[in-house]
Each structure stands twice: as structure tokens, then as C-alpha cells.
């Protein structure tokens, strides 16, 4: 019974935190894109040239979110009754996934990359900031209740 309660709490914690964590990873990825673009770090693959992002590629080899993650996160967010920002972060991640698929098929120039990176960084940072704010205030509420 105790394990079941702990597991439930863990599920709620995952449902509330995971989309914000992924937003943080996405934010780091776009930031690294801008850094590598400014430093001129490129890597050549078989048929195209792309930006060299060692940190993001290392993270991507371990974990890369997909449609399954979006589906699970959406179900969890409704099941746990998360806040509006959590649902917004899932919506943003869905949009980002679509964007990823589009950029796989087209070639882009530097100006377009800068614009896309800045836009994505602003949105992901705003969502991330809200997530951190919620986390801090939740901890304060727990401390005050104790």
C-alpha cells in the first residue's frame, strides 16, 4: 500500500515536471545552435552541412522525445490536472516536433536559422521560467504547511 502511494506521487511528480524539463533541453539546444552558428562550427554529413552541437547531440543520443512522449504527457497532464502552463509546454513541444520534421526536408540560410532559434528560445524560456516559478512556490507552500 505504501509503495502504491509512493508510485502515485511519483507519477504526479513526473506529469507535473517532465514537460518543463524537456523545454529546458530544447532551450539549451537552440542556444547551442546560436553559439555554434556564431563560432562557425559546422559538421558535414553525407549530403548536407549542419551545425555542430556536441552537447545537444550527446543528449539526443540518450533521449530524444517523440510523438509517443507527447501522447503520454498529454494523457498525464489531464489525469493529474496540471496547470495551464504545463499544457502550454506540451503544445509547444508538439509544435517544435512538427518544426523539426519540416527542417529535415528544407535547406535554410543563416538569417532564417537565427530567427527560428531566437523565436524558439524566447517561447521555451518563458515556459521554463513559469515551470521554475511553480516549483519554487510549491516548495514554499509545502514548507509553510509543515
Amino acid at each position: 500500500m505504501k509503495i502504491a502511494n509512493t508510485a502515485r506521487r511519483l507519477l504526479i511528480r513526473i506529469g507535473k515536471t517532465l514537460p518543463f524539463v524537456i523545454c529546458a533541453i530544447v532551450f539549451a539546444s537552440y542556444l547551442e545552435s546560436l553559439i555554434s552558428l556564431s563560432l562557425g562550427m559546422y559538421v558535414y554529413y553525407d549530403d548536407y552541412v549542419t551545425l555542430y552541437k556536441p552537447f545537444s547531440h550527446a543528449v539526443g543520443c540518450v533521449f530524444e522525445y517523440d510523438w509517443i512522449f507527447i501522447a503520454v504527457a498529454t494523457i498525464l497532464s489531464f489525469a493529474v490536472e496540471t496547470c495551464l502552463y504545463n499544457k502550454m509546454s506540451i503544445a509547444y513541444l508538439t509544435f517544435n516536433l512538427m518544426e523539426k520534421h519540416i527542417f529535415e526536408h528544407i535547406e535554410t540560410d543563416k538569417t532564417c536559422i537565427i530567427a527560428v532559434c531566437c523565436a524558439n528560445m524566447i517561447i521555451s524560456f518563458l515556459i521554463l521560467e513559469r515551470g521554475l516559478y511553480n516549483l519554487i512556490h510549491e516548495k514554499r507552500a509545502v514548507i509553510n504547511s509543515n
Binding site: S29, Y45, V49, K53, S56, G60, F63, N96, E99
Partner: protein, 44 residues
């Protein structure tokens, strides 16, 4: 015996030719949580 050797040689050559027909496997795309940008190169 000599004929057998010759046959083996021929079959080996044929096998090599078949291997060469295969297209070289492309390098896997880099895995990333953000978008992977394909950069346009200006040819001079």
C-alpha cells in the same frame, strides 16, 4: 582440381561485383531535441 579453382575464382569475383553494386549506407542524421538545420551552401 584446376577447374574447381577457376570456378572459385569466378564466384569470388562475382560476389565482389555484387557487393560493389550496393549503395553506400548514409551516415545517420544527428539526433537532437531541437531542429537539425540543413545549411544552404553558396557555390562559387
Amino acid at each position: 582440381m584446376g577447374i574447381t579453382k577457376g570456378k572459385i575464382k569466378i564466384s569470388n569475383k562475382a560476389e565482389i561485383r555484387r557487393k560493389g553494386d550496393f549503395q553506400k549506407a548514409p551516415t545517420p542524421t544527428p539526433r537532437d531535441n531541437g531542429a537539425v538545420f540543413k545549411i544552404k551552401i553558396k557555390h562559387k
